[in-house]
Amino acid sequence: MENARFRPLEYVFWACTLLPFLVTPSYLSLASQVAVTALFALSLDLILGYAGIVSLGHAAFFGMGAYTAGLIAKHYWTEPLSGLLVAAVSAGVLGYLLSHIVVRFRHLALIMLTMGFGLLLAEAANSASALTGGADGLQGFHVPGVLGFKFDMFGRAAYAYALAVLFLCFLVARRIIHSPFGLALRGIRENATRMPAIGAPTLAHLRKAYTIAAVIAGIAGAVLTHTTSTVSLETLSFGRSADVLVILILGGAGRLYGGIIGAIIYMVARDQFSGVNPQYWYFWIGLLLVAVVMFLPNGILGGLRALRKKPQ
C-alpha cells in the first residue's frame, strides 16, 4: 500500500513555493497565474491521470467558475471566499450534469464530446454578451482583497491567496487518491473491464471523479477572476483546454505533482519565450510535446523517477 504520509521532499517543495515572495517579488503576478494553472492541471489529473478519462474540454469548468465568480463580484458582493464557494458549486453542478453523458463514451467519441461541450459553452458565453460581456470579457468590477489583505499592484496578497487555495485543494486531492475511492479510480485506469467483475459501479465512480474535478477546476477559475478582477472568453477556450492537457502530460500525469511542475515550467517558459512574438512560442511548446511523447512517455516526473530507479 502506498504511504499517505508527507515525504521530506514534499515539505521542501512547498517551502519553495514561498520563494517568489522573497526572491522574485516582481514576478508575483506570474506566480499567481502559475498557481491557478497548477490547480487547474491538478483537477485534470484526477480524471485523466487517475481515472484515465481524456478530456479536451476541461476549460468548460474553469470558465464556469471564472464567470460565476465574476458575475457575483459584479452584481452582488465582492467578498472572494464566499464567491469561490458559489463558483465551485456551479462548476460542480455543470460537471455532474455532463458526467452522465461523458463517462459512457471512450476513445475518439469521448475526445470529440468533451471538446464539443467545451466549444458549446464558449460559444454560448460569446453569444450571451449581455450577461458575459461577450468577446470584450466581463469587466467593471473590482475584488478589493481577501480577509483584509488588499489585492494591490505588487500582487503579494493575490499570490498568497492563489497559493493557499492551491495548497488546500492539493491536500484534498491527495486525500482522495489515498482513499478507497482513489484506489478504485486507479483500478478503472488500469483495467476498466475487470472493475465490474469485482462488483465496482464503474460509471458511478467516474461520475463522481468527474464532478470533483469540475469543482476544483471551477475553484481555479474563480481564483483567476478574483486576482485579476476581469474574466475573458479565453477562460473557456479550446486553447486553455489544450494547454492544461499539455501541461499535465509534460509534468507527468497520475502523480499529483505532475500538473504543478508542468505548470511552473510551461508558464515560466512561455513568459520568457513569447515576449518577441507569441507565434514563436508555439514552436518551442510543439517541440517539447513531440519530445515528451517520444522520449519521456511519463512526463518529467516519470523520467526523473526512472533515472532514480536505475542505479539501484
Partner: protein, 226 residues
C-alpha cells in the same frame, strides 16, 4: 438451453473450441446482454441486473486471459475488491489505512493462495492466474465461474492450482471451463458438455465418460474417464 447449478457442486464445462463456453459465462455475468431467457440466483431473477450488481448478489467470475490491474500490487487489487464488496470504495475521505479490516482480509486471501504481494505486472504467470481467482474470491461469491483457470499454466503447476480451487469452501458452487480431461475428471463432480452453442449432455463424470456422443465430439481423442 436450461442449466441448474446446485449449491456446493463442482461443475466442469467442456466442449470443443467455439462451442460457446465463454459466451455462456459472459451471458451469466451480464457482460453480454441476453436476447431472451432468465437467469436465477438462489431463486431471485438477476437477468436485468448490471454485471457489477450480479457480483454483489454473489456471482463472480475469472477470465481466460489475465484481466488484472498491472500497476496495482496484488494486495491493492484484492483490497479493492473487498472494499467494493462492502460498499466502502465510495469513500473518498478516509484514508485507505483506516480500512485495516479490508486490508487484513485481502492479505489473508493472498496468503491462502500463496500469492506474494508484488506489483501485478511483476508476478509470475502462474501467480497471476491465482490472483484472478483471489479477486473473484474477495467478492465472497456464492457461485464462482472460472474461465479456463489453468490456461497457459504448465501441467505440473496446474495440479497445484486445481488443488487450491478444490480446497475452497464447500458452500461455494463452482463452474470451470477446462480442456485438460485429466483435470476435469479428477476435480469435477458434474460435467456439462457444450457443442455448437447448446448443451449436449450433463451428468456425472462416469456418465459423461461412457456417452458415445461425447466420444464422437472429441473424435475418440482424449475423452477417457481417468
Amino acid at each position: 438451453m436450461a442449466l441448474e447449478l446446485p449449491k456446493g457442486a463442482r461443475y466442469a464445462l467442456i466442449g470443443p473450441n467455439g462451442a460457446g463456453k465463454t459466451t455462456l459465462i459472459n451471458l451469466l455475468t451480464g457482460m453480454l446482454a441476453a436476447d431472451s431467457g432468465t437467469i436465477l440466483l438462489d431463486g431471485a431473477d438477476i437477468t436485468s441486473l448490471k454485471p457489477y450488481q450480479r457480483v454483489h448478489r454473489g456471482l463472480a467470475r475469472t477470465f481466460q486471459i489475465n484481466t488484472l490491474f498491472p500497476r496495482l500490487t496484488a494486495l491493492e487489487s484484492v483490497t479493492l475488491a473487498v472494499l467494493e464488496r462492502d460498499g466502502h470504495a465510495h469513500n473518498w475521505w478516509r484514508g485507505l489505512a483506516a480500512h485495516r479490516q479490508a486490508i487484513d482480509e485481502a492479505a489473508g486471501i493472498l496468503r491462502s493462495l500463496n500469492i506474494p504481494d508484488r506489483e501485478t505486472a511483476e508476478l509470475a504467470y502462474g501467480q497471476q492466474r491465482l490472483l484472478e481467482i483471489a479477486l473473484a474470491l474477495a467478492t465472497r461469491p456464492r457461485v464462482l465461474l472460472l474461465d479456463e483457470p489453468g490456461a497457459g499454466v504448465p501441467r505440473d503447476e496446474s495440479a497445484a492450482l486445481f488443488s487450491a480451487i478444490e480446497s475452497l469452501s464447500g458452500e461455494l458452487t463452482i463452474l470451470f471451463i477446462e480442456h485438460d480431461m485429466n483435470v476435469v475428471f479428477r476435480f469435477a463432480s458434474r460435467i456439462i458438455v457444450m457443442v455448437g452453442g447448446r448443451i449436449l449432455l450433463e451428468g456425472s463424470p462416469d456418465e459423461v465418460g461412457r456417452d458415445p456422443r461425447v466420444r464422437e465430439v472429441y473424435l475418440g481423442g482424449h475423452a477417457r474417464a481417468a
